[in-house]
């Protein structure tokens, strides 16, 4: 069953300063099956975050449609939980308070939501931190909490916007392995945006490679790697290296085109991503 359908998505911005029209997304179509992990990969400034923001309902498409579980998306909703690069945790709420936020919005009773919250904290390895505040956690732990907060809400799709981009390399490897383990255990539907090829291949069932702006789907690469996955096994796996090399080749062609044409800024209101 298909969880997410993106059809002929197009997004045109009007630059408020010069009045020029900027085509961020040319024509993007793809689907994500239920229980599937799909990454969107592309050069910086290709509008992949714009695609995610449109799916999340933070931005309206100029044309085209996004449907989740058969319903067309308009505006943000709890069926599409987002894990942000800047974690966006509520600093005045405890770890537990953050995890149960979505359940509280749904009106789930206190005892039940706290039980579920604890279960998901356990899942991401944050058991025992219930009463801490986000500022007391390390960067990696904050992002685990971000994942738990979304998963506890059981969305139809979990949207992840370069969640590990600002985390140091060693911790990132751990987080990627843990995310894979959680995915294999729970099988949520995941839509993952990244510019890291290794990360995309390691985590995903399929990788959607976008062209530079105005972005179109250049190719959808199926990753044929056995699960459960670990980095140790993946780097030795010829399939892993082959897929990485292939995507690398696809993006290298773009790099040449990129120099001639499109600029290098993410053409989106989310200035936070530029930092």
């Amino acid at each position: 069953m298909t969880a997410l359908v993106i059809e002929h998505l197009e997004k045109v911005y009007t630059d408020s300063y010069s009045g020029d029209e900027v085509v961020a997304i040319g024509d993007v179509s793809f689907t994500v099956e239920r229980g599937e992990f799909v990454s969107v990969l592309g050069p910086s400034g290709c509008g992949k975050t714009t695609v995610l923001n449109t799916v999340a309902g933070f931005a309206d498409p100029t044309s085209g449609t996004v449907s989740v579980d058969g319903r067309e998306v308009s505006g943000p909703g709890p069926d599409r939980g987002v894990v942000f690069q800047g974690h966006a945790l509520f600093p005045w709420k405890t770890v537990l308070g953050n995890v149960v936020f979505g359940l509280r919005m749904k009106g789930v009773k206190r005892r039940e939501r706290e039980e579920r919250g604890r279960e998901f904290l356990e899942l991401v390895g944050l058991a025992g931190f219930e009463n801490r505040y986000p500022h007391e956690l390390s960067g990696g732990m904050r992002q685990r909490l971000g994942v738990a907060r979304v998963l506890a809400n059981e969305p139809a799709v979990m949207l992840m916007d370069e969640p590990f981009a600002s985390i140091d390399a060693q911790t990132r490897r751990r987080l990627q392995e843990d995310l894979t383990r959680i995915f294999e255990e729970r099988r949520p539907t995941v839509f993952f945006v990244t510019h890291d090829i290794d990360e995309a291949v390691f985590l995903s069932d399929r990788v959607v490679v976008l062209s530079p702006r105005p972005s179109t789907v250049q190719e959808i690469v199926t990753v044929d790697l056995p699960r459960p996955r670990t980095w140790k096994a993946a780097v030795d796996h010829p399939g892993f290296r082959e897929t990485v090399a292939r995507i690398n080749g696809l993006l290298a062609v773009d790099a040449v085109r990129d120099r001639d044409g499109a600029g290098d800024q993410e053409s989106d209101g989310s200035a936070a991503d530029v930092r």
Partner: protein
């Protein structure tokens, strides 16, 4: 021993005033100024005891604080909702902003002549001036507080199923709190000053009235006493209520800021 003393809260609160009072005393005793113009702390303390005994000081103080309470109460009641409405509704904001700046420019005391015409020498007149002084800075700080709430937090709440009303109470209100706390603190400070000014002109009682009336009879020590009382009262209000409240919220906010910086 010395270390223990310097670290005690009483010392830290009162310590800085010791040289000020000493200097004051030396100046008064030196005979540089005639006694009729400049009295020392000893005379002020005597005056304090005298007025306390007569019950005048307590009565006037009560009057002043009652006016302040009315003014601040209505000021918050009007300023906070107006501030949030202005901050949240873009259209309203565009319409209201120039008016806000216009009225902010008219000093509170500049209103007194017309206020006296309207309300006479009454509590209403004084309250009006205090409310007026508090409302505008409060509104401005609420607007800037709402603007400081990171957009991502609102997005996160929305995509976790919060509607607009829940987003306001769960995200915007706590997020704007530090700036609102600062606004309340500065607003109260303005209100306090406006109160004394209003009492000097409108007053029939109160600390401001006491000071001005003493000037009329030529009793400088009461003027000095009034100034000391104003300072001490404000210091107490600020140190005991406002500063801790602001610190609690701003500190929390500081943590948010540092969280954003280190990503």
């Amino acid at each position: 021993m010395w270390l223990r003393l310097t670290r005690s809260p009483a010392f830290r609160t009162l310590g800085p005033f010791v040289p000020v009072i000493a200097l004051w005393w030396v100046l008064a005793e030196s005979g540089l100024f005639p006694q009729a113009f400049f009295v020392g702390p000893d005379r002020v303390v005597l005056e304090f005891v005298e007025l306390l005994r007569k019950g005048i000081l307590v009565g006037y103080l009560g009057d002043s604080l009652e006016r302040l309470a009315y003014g601040v109460g209505f000021g918050l009641l009007i300023g906070l909702p107006m501030g949030f409405l202005t901050a949240l509704f873009w259209r309203l904001r565009k319409a209201v902003w120039p008016i806000l700046l216009f009225f902010q420019a008219i000093a509170d005391i500049a209103w007194l002549p017309i206020v006296i015409v309207w309300f006479g020498f009454s509590l209403t007149a004084v309250t009006f001036v205090i409310v007026y002084t508090i409302v505008f800075p409060l509104m401005l700080s609420v607007v800037s507080g709402v603007e400081q709430v990171p957009k991502e937090l609102i997005r996160a709440a929305r995509s976790l199923g919060a509607g607009r009303v829940r987003v306001f109470f769960e995200v915007i209100l706590p997020g704007a709190l530090p700036s609102v706390a600062t606004g309340v603190r500065t607003g109260l400070g303005y209100g306090w000053r406006a109160l004394v000014a209003a009492e000097i002109i409108v007053g029939t009682s109160g600390i401001g009235f006491m000071m001005f009336d003493a000037r009329r009879v030529g009793d400088v020590s009461q003027v000095f006493l009034g100034m000391v009382v104003l300072g001490v009262l404000w210091y107490m209000l600020d140190a005991l209520v406002l500063a801790p409240f602001e610190r609690a919220t701003v500190e929390r906010w500081g943590l948010v800021r540092s969280m954003e910086d280190d990503r």
